[in-house]
Every structure is written in C-alpha cells, then in structure tokens.
Amino acid sequence: MWYVLLVSNMNDKADVWQGTLALMVLKTIETMGPLHGYGIARRIEQTSGNLLSNYGTLYPALLKLEQEGSIASAWGVSENNRKAKFYKLTRQGRKQLEKEARDWQQATAILARFLSPSGDAV
C-alpha cells in the first residue's frame, strides 16, 4: 500500500520533471539553434544550476520530444570535428514551446501572486 503510494508519488514528480525538462530543451534549441545532446545538457546545467544531475536523463526526454514530432535529429559534425547527433526544432515544436512557455508563465504568475507576503490575492 505504502509502496504503491510512494511509486505513484514518484511518478507524479517524474512527470512534472519530464515536462519542465522538455520545455527547457525546446527553449535551449530555440535559443542556440541546432545542437547535440551534450551541448543541450551543458546549456541547461549552466542556466538551471544543478537541476540536471545526470546528463543521461536528457536522452529519454530528447527521444520523447522526437517521437512527438517537436524536434528532429540528424547526424552532423561538431565544432571540434566530432561526429554528433544534432537536434533542431520543428514547426510543431516551435508552437509547442510558445504555448507551454505561456502556460508556465501564467501558472507561475498566479502562484507568485498567491504566495506573495502581502497576500493581496487572499
């Protein structure tokens, strides 16, 4: 029973994490242009602090976005002449990014107002 609760709780958290990670990936590719997985991981680490503790968790997220048609991949050559798989945003991915960024901003704005110490929302 407790085990089940624990697992479902973990799954909920994982879902939220996957959702935010996907949004970060989309935003990163939009800002930086076509980029390989390592580049995306470094960029997210730089901007988000220690959120991406393992670079490896990025790859399932990239695969999910590719399966959903938000990004597309192709093999290419990196700036220091290494073979690498580059990810770029598709038109659908751009739309998804716009929508999710807007949703996220709305949600954070509401929560920020709600949690503000002055409490003018309450």
């Binding site: 997985g37 503790s53 393992n54 490896g56 790859y59 399932p60």
Partner: protein, 344 residues
C-alpha cells in the same frame, strides 16, 4: 495528438532493433567524446576526463536502459521476447507440443459444443411466432406430475377450454417409409390440423393442414421437414402432390416446413402427418393410458404473457374439474384422480 503520434512511433519501435541500438551507442559515445574534449581543454588528464564524463552522464548502461524504455513499449517488447522463447521451446519438444495442442483443442471443442447446446436451448428464442405465449399442457397425477394426455381428454380440454386461444396436440412417432429399395424407419409425428398455425409457423412451400384433414375420413396428407425435402427429394420444387407411403398408407405431400423450424419435443421428425382420428376410434380408446399426447396451448392475446405463467395454474384448477369430471365418467378406471397442469 502528440501523444498518439508518440505512441505509434513507440509501437513501431518494437521488434529487432540492431540499427537503433548502434545509433544509441554512437550517440552516447559521441556525447562522452565531446565531454572528454571539454574536460581535457579544462586541463584534466585523459583518464580523469573520461571518468568525469562517465560520472556526469550517470553511467552508459543506465542511460541506455532508460532510453530503451522510452524507445518502445517495454511490456510489449518483453512479451514479444517471451513469445519467441516459448515458440523455440515448443519446437524443441514436439511430443509436449502435440499433447498440449491436442488437449487444448479438445477443451475448445468441448466448450464450443456445450455453448452451442446452451445457445440453442436457452439463449436463442424458439422458432415460433410468439414463443413466450406457448405452454405445454400435461395431465398430472401423484406419481407423474407431467404426463402426456389421452386423445379423448385432449378433445374434452379443447372443447371446455376458456383460457387458451388454441389447444393442439402432437404425437412423436416413427413411420415405416416405403422407398425404392424396400422399407426404412423415418422419424415422424402426427399432429392436429391447426398445430402449425398454433405455433405460428408457415410452410416454406405449399400449405399446412386444413381443418378437417385430421379426421379419419380425410385422405392422408403429410408435410415434410426442410431436411427431409432436401435429403429425400433433393429440394425438388415439384414435390407437392407427390406421394410417400408411411406405415402402408399413401400420403400426399402438401407442404414443406421452413429450414429454421425445429420441434425438439417430437424429436425433429422428417414427416409430419395429419392425425386422422376421432374420439371413438378404437385405436385411441385402447391407447388411453399410454398414448403420448402432449397438448400445446396458446394463451389468448388479451392475457399478457407474464399473467399466463402466474395465473394459469389457478385458472386450470378452476376450469379442470368439469373437464375431468367428464373424462372421469367415461374412463373412470384409468383416469382416477387426474389433474391438469400448464407449467410455464
């Protein structure tokens, strides 16, 4: 929409995946190389750089495992692998496979046969016009709660009946059929003239019995079952008017029953002959005690079917005494303390 697309891609990812596996290995290797390059540029020694890159990735195999889980549907992939394993095992042990297939086959056949029986008897409606309104009528006596009735009793019941719209009777029997080669036994039944009309069954070909054709004066007539028509007359459309010799009497064929008609209570006979008897016939007077008559009644349309099953025993109780009183007076020795029942 995005989810649907992702699900389809994942389903398509099932099956052999050597190319995809190689691509995954290449991508992870390329990731590590890029990271190692960066680390070396930052001043690490090569082996330290590789170790750091691996640590930061979270290990090659865990990464691949998480990736594979996302690539297709792990449950289905495992199922597919198990299935292939099972097939290999079965191929290796033909004796075991044969036995298992045989036992399963027998089990399936038995289940199908039992279901077919249950379906035919309990689920499918009977092939009559208004099966819910049909009831069987029986004589009852202490040692025989559902007894067939004698023909004179049938006539009395029919005459005194105020409950049912129609009361008819059949007698399941066999006929000696004279055929070209000699004689053979054929399943048959004798019925009263309005029997098929009471059931609400119209012949597929020709007609059923006319009123009066079940009297001894009428010329012998017979109606064929669909199976008999197909088997003995090859479905010939000109069969009407031809004759068959049953129990030595030449019967004229007047009709053919529809293919869907069944009447299990008489053993699904091939030949349905008109009854051709009357209350004074010696044959039936002699056969009072054991003639397997069973009467079929249809309740009057004004009585809803639910009421028939609930109220008919009571109706019968009130209406049987005069009926049986008459029957008893004539056949006192054999009809002692008989009642009547119409089980629903």
């Amino acid at each position: 929409m995005r989810r649907l697309r992702a699900s389809l891609v994942r389903l398509a990812g099932l099956g052999p995946a050597t190319r995809r596996e190689r691509e995954l290995a290449d991508e992870i290797e390329s990731h590590l190389q890029l990271h190692i390059d960066d680390n070396i540029r930052a001043g690490m020694r090569p082996e330290q750089a590789r170790r750091d890159a691996l640590l930061k990735l979270g290990g090659v195999e865990p990464t691949k495992e998480a990736y594979r889980d996302r690539r297709s549907v792990p449950l289905l992939e495992n199922l597919w692998r198990d299935t292939r394993y099972a097939i290999r095992q079965l191929r290796k042990n033909p004796g075991f496979t044969g036995t298992a297939v045989l036992v399963l086959g027998l089990g399936i056949c038995a289940s199908a046969a039992i279901f077919a029986f249950v379906d035919a008897t309990l689920i499918k409606p009977l092939p009559y016009r208004d099966p819910a309104r049909l009831v069987g009528l029986f004589e009852t006596v202490q040692f025989c709660p559902r007894c067939p009735l004698s023909y004179p009793d049938y006539l009395d019941w029919k005459r005194l009946n105020k409950v049912f719209t129609a009361v008819d009777a059949f007698e399941g029997t066999g006929f000696t059929l004279r055929s070209g080669a000699g004689s053979e036994m054929a399943g048959g039944a004798r019925v009263t003239a309005a029997f098929f009309r009471t059931l609400g069954v119209a012949p597929a070909l020709g007609r059923d019995f006319r009123a009066g054709e079940d009297t001894p004066e009428a010329p012998p007539t017979v109606v064929l079952s669909y199976a008999a028509w197909q088997k003995r007359f090859a479905g010939n459309a000109h069969v009407l008017g031809q004759t068959v010799t049953l129990n030595g009497d030449v019967h004229t064929i007047v009709g053919v029953l529809p293919a869907g008609f069944h009447f299990a209570a008489a053993g699904d006979p091939e030949f349905w002959a008109a009854l051709r008897t009357n209350a004074n016939s010696t044959r039936h007077a002699a056969a009072i005690a054991c003639t397997p008559w069973r009467a079929y009644g249809t309740a009057s349309p004004s009585t809803p079917p639910t009421r028939i099953s609930n109220s008919s025993p009571a109706n019968w109780k009130s209406s049987t005494p005069p009926m049986l009183a008459r029957a008893d007076r004539r056949f006192l020795s054999s009809n002692w303390k008989w009642g009547a029942s119409a089980p629903s």
